[in-house]
């Protein structure tokens, strides 16, 4: 009977996801069918920027939560693994035609191939989908391989010491990728641009007019697939072992869980998905450069994980949307000087947004000590209500 129930739950979850994706596609394309579309739904609207960024950050946050919330390893290397992913993606996907232009400072690239071109170029469906997909997966694998090697020494450390060591790793990565000597591969301190982005997935007709927008749908599809894999992992016996390590290392070891092996596994898997989110980040900002992958990015993601609830996947997703929407959209008006009649509203000036934003975060942390969701998932809330109703 229990199994039947969980099967039903899977169908409900699957239905919700499909519905959600359908709504995204509909929102995106409403402008194509209606003439008088509200400003909010224009393709240039802030809404779609926020949604795309949400998809990218949500995957980064969930991958960090897998490590911090479910395995109890406090790592601050997220930005480093995202950087690896972003660069791997960009290096492998710059089309051959653009290489000389992108790598002008180094007389062309040392990487003599481009994944989309291997399958027929960015302009063909096969080239775009296969090339980008392969590059994204490789981005994750490169990040995971680095994690494996870094994990050998670093995972012997505990709590704060682990955080400091991984933080150092992320900073070193950033320095290495800006190193001029590696220029032919990483383009030195310059950015790698002219790479396939989410906008490439919009379907155009022969005249070059967009007939179906998929530029918001694609990042969501990628993020949802990755997050679904993480959820399946957490609910498997490996996930239980991770949680056991989080709760009590000694007891977990006494139950026959190999600590070193499982910690490394969790670290590599988390980094794999951080790498993928890094690749998506590169697609989102249309380039790869070391600049955005500072410690700040790690802190942003850590903040999202804490606000959403350490140990809650749905919490991380909800918190990502709220965080991105607040910082990019809903609080924007605080940055612009506003006049009501002849009266200039005080305090509203560039930079004030961040003041309010900080206060909002403090209030959230004060009143939701364990984050918005604690360690519960969204379906748990409905379950609890149903049980109470049954009483």
């Amino acid at each position: 009977m229990i199994q039947k129930k969980s099967k039903k739950g899977t169908f409900v979850a699957l239905g919700c996801i499909i519905l959600f994706l359908a709504v995204i596609v509909l929102l995106e394309n409403l402008g194509l069918f209606m003439d008088n579309v509200p400003k909010l739904l224009k393709p240039t609207s802030q809404l779609f920027v926020v949604l795309k960024k949400t998809a990218v950050y949500a995957l980064a946050a969930v991958s960090m939560n897998l490590l911090t919330g479910f395995t109890g390893l406090f790592s601050l290397g997220q930005a480093g693994f995202m950087l690896l992913g972003a660069y791997t993606y960009a290096i492998l996907t710059v089309p051959m035609a653009n290489k000389d232009q992108v790598y002008y400072a180094f007389n062309g690239s040392a990487v003599k191939f481009s994944l989309p071109d291997l399958f027929g170029g960015v302009d063909t469906v096969a080239g775009l989908v296969l090339g980008v997909l392969l590059a994204i997966i490789l981005a994750g694998i490169v990040a995971a391989i680095f994690a494996w090697f870094i994990g050998l020494p670093v995972l012997r450390l505990k709590s704060d010491y682990l955080a400091i060591a991984t933080l150092g790793f992320a900073e070193i990565m950033r320095a290495i990728f800006q190193w001029q000597k590696l220029g032919p591969v990483t383009n030195g301190a310059n950015m790698i641009n002219k790479i396939p982005t989410f906008a490439n997935f919009n379907i155009e007709n022969a005249a070059g007019k967009v007939v179906l927008r998929l530029s918001t749908f694609v990042p969501f599809l990628l993020a949802i697939i990755c997050i679904a894999i993480i959820v399946l992992l957490i609910n498997s016996s490996y996930g239980r072992a991770f949680k056991a390590i989080r709760e009590d290392e000694i007891a977990a070891e006494a139950m026959g869980i190999n600590l070193a092996k499982h910690k490394r596994m969790s670290f590599c898997i988390s980094s794999f998905f951080a790498g993928i989110s890094g690749a998506m980040f590169a697609m989102f900002v249309n380039n790869a450069q070391a600049k955005p992958f500072t410690t700040n990015l790690t802190y942003e993601i850590l903040l999202i994980v804490v606000i959403g609830g350490i140990g809650s996947i749905t919490g991380s997703c909800i918190a990502t949307f709220l965080y991105v929407a607040c910082s990019e959209w809903w609080l924007r008006f605080l940055d612009s000087q506003t006049m009501i009649g002849d009266f200039q509203v005080p305090l509203l000036r560039p930079g004030f947004r961040m003041v309010v934003f900080s206060i909002v975060i403090m209030v959230v942390v004060l009143f939701f000590r364990r984050g918005i969701m604690g360690n519960k998932e969204l379906p748990d809330l409905f379950k609890g209500k149903r049980k109470e109703a049954a009483k």
Partner: protein, 231 residues
């Protein structure tokens, strides 16, 4: 079944166990009693592979298992119920039990039924977080979790710690029942009275050395033991 020969363990620079030899015959309850710091827990931790012995050999059914990692020792059929229960507080009772069977790939149905039959209370609370159980229930869960690995030998570290006398009696009844069903038990206890009553064989450990051994009954009536441990 389990043979320990001249076991020495260093713990934080001092020699905590100074050459202990114990024989655990199949299907018996063997107990190790002694005061605080006598080296009882360290001996068990060494057998479980949680600490590496400095000298001595440990054999399980003729196979040398000295210095193997804990996962290999668990998969060979030795499991430890750690001191202070150490259940996973934020996981449900059922999840705790499943972690006990982590190294097994076969079906858990029969073993879950076995554990639930031994501890009907755990079945009632299978969806509850283990941290919300009472001390006695947590001890039941710790034992149940250990049984899920289908052990040949179950080692128990102070199962009576911090429990009410009536609950302790219940736990010892269960230990006898589990033993009757074929699991060999190596038990260490400060509650010497209780332990000696259930034990087939008993050893007395003092500052890292064995000072006495015999059947549980014999030690229970031994004057020196009476004076030192039974009061």
């Amino acid at each position: 079944m389990l043979k320990i020969d001249g076991l020495k363990v260093n713990y934080g620079g001092i020699e905590a166990v100074k050459g202990v030899s114990i024989d655990v015959p199949e299907r018996q309850i063997v107990t190790l009693i002694g005061a605080n710091g006598a080296g009882k827990s360290t001996t068990l931790r060494a057998i479980a592979g949680l600490v590496k012995p400095a000298a001595g050999r440990i054999h399980l059914q003729g196979e040398d298992i000295t210095g193997l990692s804990p996962d290999h020792i668990v998969s060979r059929g030795i499991t430890l119920v750690p001191e202070g229960r150490r259940v996973f507080p934020d996981l449900t009772v059922l999840e705790n039990l499943k972690i006990g069977a982590y190294l097994r790939n076969d079906s858990l149905e029969d073993d879950l039924k076995w554990v639930y039959d031994l501890f009907p209370r755990l079945k009632e609370r299978s969806w509850q977080a283990a941290g919300t159980l009472s001390g006695g229930e947590q001890q039941m869960l710790a034992v149940g979790r250990a049984l899920m690995s289908r052990p040949k030998i179950m080692m128990m570290d102070e199962p009576s710690l911090g429990l009410a006398p009536l609950v302790v009696k219940g736990i010892f009844d269960i230990i006898k029942e589990i033993n009757r069903q074929g699991v060999t038990i190596l038990l260490i206890e400060q509650n010497a009275n209780m332990a000696l009553r259930v034990a087939d064989t008993a050893y007395v450990l003092e500052t890292g050395r064995l000072t006495m051994s015999g059947t549980g009954d014999a030690l229970l009536h031994n004057e020196a033991v009476k004076k030192a441990y039974l009061g």
